[in-house]
């Protein structure tokens, strides 16, 4: 009756051997291909460095104006621009400008990469139920797997630094981008698609002239979610060497600096709200001509 009270598990020795086998295999793989893979990511590193340098080395008034200009063109709302100004001024006044700019640079790069990878995958998913069935479980894993777990192989492969941090953030932040692109395209009005068919649109024309424009508000919601999730990863990413607002928070945890933690935490909240309001206002502007006024 022993098996009834204790789950009959794998033999301890066999289990140890299995784990060792996988670990050794991966270690061998790292040793053999680590450099090549690192080389593969060099362009990414350059992109990240360039963004970082631009944000931190450009004089602050120029960056400030730039951010406000983007906020204005996206939202066309003075209220949002004004709240962005106040947030950034407070951040700067409390001496968190450089860290904040580093974080903004990283979020920007992550978002661009998430869009560049997520959009095509979302389109493929929308086109084929088979692809959708295959990718959905992968997205589930990416969203629910504790991020520390996939930090291990990433760090083993690429070491400590910005690029592995970036990869970890993208893995965590890309699923909503993919899911909402897929959803947006699938929700495009069947009547409009039929009209495109009736006028002889080919697949490309249908995608670029009908499906993507009509899915754009949903895709924007995906981008918004991706940005928010990327910000949520800032602290974890700082554990493997990503600079920015996460590092002071980490320091605050280690040394119990309450105020330092709160200040930097609030700065993260501040830019999160900024990104969120601006991208949502832009999404809403895209929706302007879609609501049905006349029946």
């Amino acid at each position: 009756m022993d098996w009834f009270y204790k789950f009959p598990n794998m033999n301890d020795g066999a289990l140890r051997d299995l784990k060792k086998l996988i670990d050794d295999g991966f270690r061998a793989f790292t040793r053999a291909y680590g450099d090549a893979i690192e080389g593969l990511f060099t362009p990414l590193q350059h992109f990240l460095l360039a963004a970082d340098r631009f944000m931190t080395q450009t004089p602050w008034p120029i960056i400030l104006l730039l951010i406000l200009a983007v906020a204005w063109f996206a939202s066309r709302s003075l209220k949002i621009v004004a709240s962005c100004l106040v947030t950034l001024m407070l951040i700067g006044y409390f001496d968190m400008w450089t860290d904040t700019m580093r974080t903004v640079a990283m979020i920007f790069v992550c978002t661009v990469i998430s869009i560049a990878i997520g959009l095509p995958i979302g389109i493929l998913m929308a086109r084929s139920d088979r692809v959708q069935r295959a990718i959905n479980p992968i997205l589930d894993v990416m969203q629910t797997m504790p991020s520390f777990v996939y930090l291990i192989p990433v760090v083993m492969l690429l070491g400590i630094g910005r690029v592995p941090g970036l990869i970890a953030v993208v893995i965590y932040a890309i699923p909503p981008m993919i899911r909402l692109t897929d959803l947006g395209i699938r929700l495009v009005d069947k009547d409009v698609l039929e009209a495109a068919d009736a006028f002889g649109a080919d697949r490309r024309q249908k995608l670029f002239k009908v499906q993507l424009p009509l899915a754009l508000p949903t895709i924007m919601a995906g981008i918004n979610q991706t940005i928010m999730m990327a910000l949520a990863m800032v602290v974890i990413a700082s554990m493997i060497g990503v600079q920015g607002l996460g590092q002071p928070v980490l320091k605050a945890i280690a040394n119990q600096y309450f105020t330092l933690g709160v200040f930097n935490g609030l700065a993260i909240v501040g830019i999160a709200i900024m990104f969120d309001r601006v991208s949502q206002a832009y999404g809403k502007r895209l929706q302007k001509h879609r609501e049905i006024i006349h029946g």
């Binding site: 009547d191 495109a196 006028f199 002889g200 649109a201 002239k209 009509l214 001509h289």
Partner: protein, 353 residues
């Protein structure tokens, strides 16, 4: 297509069965399996059964039926938005059913244009950009697209609204955009799928007038789907009545109103304003030698209502019906005209020609 006269549309022995294994049941349906039996025994739905319609070039063919009769399915076979289970759809002599994908795309771009019940406009595009859509797909340069589109926008009465978005327009105006988008393509076939069914009655009459006026100059082969008999009678040069996927009667509006093929059609026709449909020659008496010229005359081919209107002020007596050359064809009296307008079903009278 300047040097080529468009050959019209011919639909021959067209069958459509909806279901996963449609081909397997086509023979049984050909041999008389009914729609109900097919559904009960095999779980397949019979959409269309043995449709044969000839649509001459330059005429308006109305396909009429209630919902579920298969009329929207039928029109989608003409540009093959739906693939048939069996049969031929010859547009200008070419069988649409046999076209390969690329050929079909070219065919849809150049030979057909379609107007939809729910407009199906692109909400993110302005009226102008919606109108150029078909030309854009053909790869026509932007400047020429805009030129053509502006002409049609003006022609359908939307001048000044080019930069508006569809959701800023009323239903009637949106359908004008749909019409302009279809006409800008300059395709010989215009498919209108319940194009006016979503509009208010007044707007609908208005749009029917727009279409009839346009047709005088464009002379397209128009296939018009409707569930409204008045609309069918007003627009159609030829009308096909569809029920449960089968054509139960084909003919001109005169044929349908004066000689309904069965009780189903007769029931439909009962409520129609006959004065607006029936022509005077259908109620006139043959000429007798005693008839002398000199009294009031009406031209053959006008409706009873028009005749009554033009004769309201004329003196009593027999009225002579004359053909376009002025030759007398027969006589009618006011009593006959009035009788024809109110008679629900008068099987005795037959058109002379």
């Amino acid at each position: 297509m300047a040097d080529h006269a468009f050959g019209g549309i011919r639909i021959r022995h067209l069958y459509k069965i909806f279901g996963p294994d449609a081909q397997a049941h086509i023979e049984a349906v050909r041999n008389g399996l009914t729609k109900a039996e097919l559904n009960e025994r095999h779980g397949h739905v019979l959409g269309l059964r043995d449709i044969n319609i000839e649509m001459p070039s330059g005429s308006i063919q109305v396909i009429m039926g209630l919902s579920g009769s298969g009329k929207s399915t039928l029109i989608r076979h003409i540009n093959r938005l739906i693939d048939p289970t069996a049969g031929e759809v010859l547009v200008d002599g070419v069988d649409v059913v046999k076209m390969a994908e690329a050929e079909l795309r070219e065919f849809r771009r150049h030979q057909t244009a379609m107007v939809f019940q729910k407009f199906a406009l692109l909400p993110h595009r302005t009226v102008l950009d919606n109108t150029v859509f078909g030309l854009e797909l053909q790869g026509v340069p932007r400047a020429r697209c805009v030129d053509t589109a502006m002409r049609w926008i003006e022609r359908v009465g939307l001048k000044g609204f080019e930069q508006k978005y569809p959701n800023q327009l009323s239903g009637g105006m949106q359908q004008r955009v749909g019409l302009a988008r279809a006409l800008a393509n300059d395709a010989p076939v215009l498919l209108m799928d319940e194009a006016y069914s979503a509009l208010d009655p007044l707007i609908r009459t208005d749009m029917q007038t727009v279409l009839l006026d346009l047709q005088k100059e464009i002379r397209k082969t128009i296939v018009f789907i409707t569930h409204d008999l008045d609309e069918a009678l007003r627009l159609g040069d030829n009308i096909a009545i569809l029920r449960d996927g089968e054509v139960i009667q084909q003919g001109t509006s005169q044929d349908i109103v004066l000689r309904p093929a069965d009780d189903y059609v007769a029931n439909f026709v009962k409520e129609v304003n006959r004065g607006r449909v029936v022509h005077v020659e259908a109620v006139m008496s043959p000429l007798t030698t005693a008839d002398a010229a000199g009294g009031p005359t009406v031209a053959a081919g006008i409706t009873i209502e028009e005749a009554v209107r033009s004769l309201a002020a004329a003196p009593e007596g027999d009225i002579t019906v004359v053909d376009p050359a002025g030759k007398p064809l027969g006589t009618v009296t006011f009593r006959q005209l009035a009788g024809a307008m109110v008679n629900a079903h008068d099987g005795g009278r037959r058109a002379a020609a």
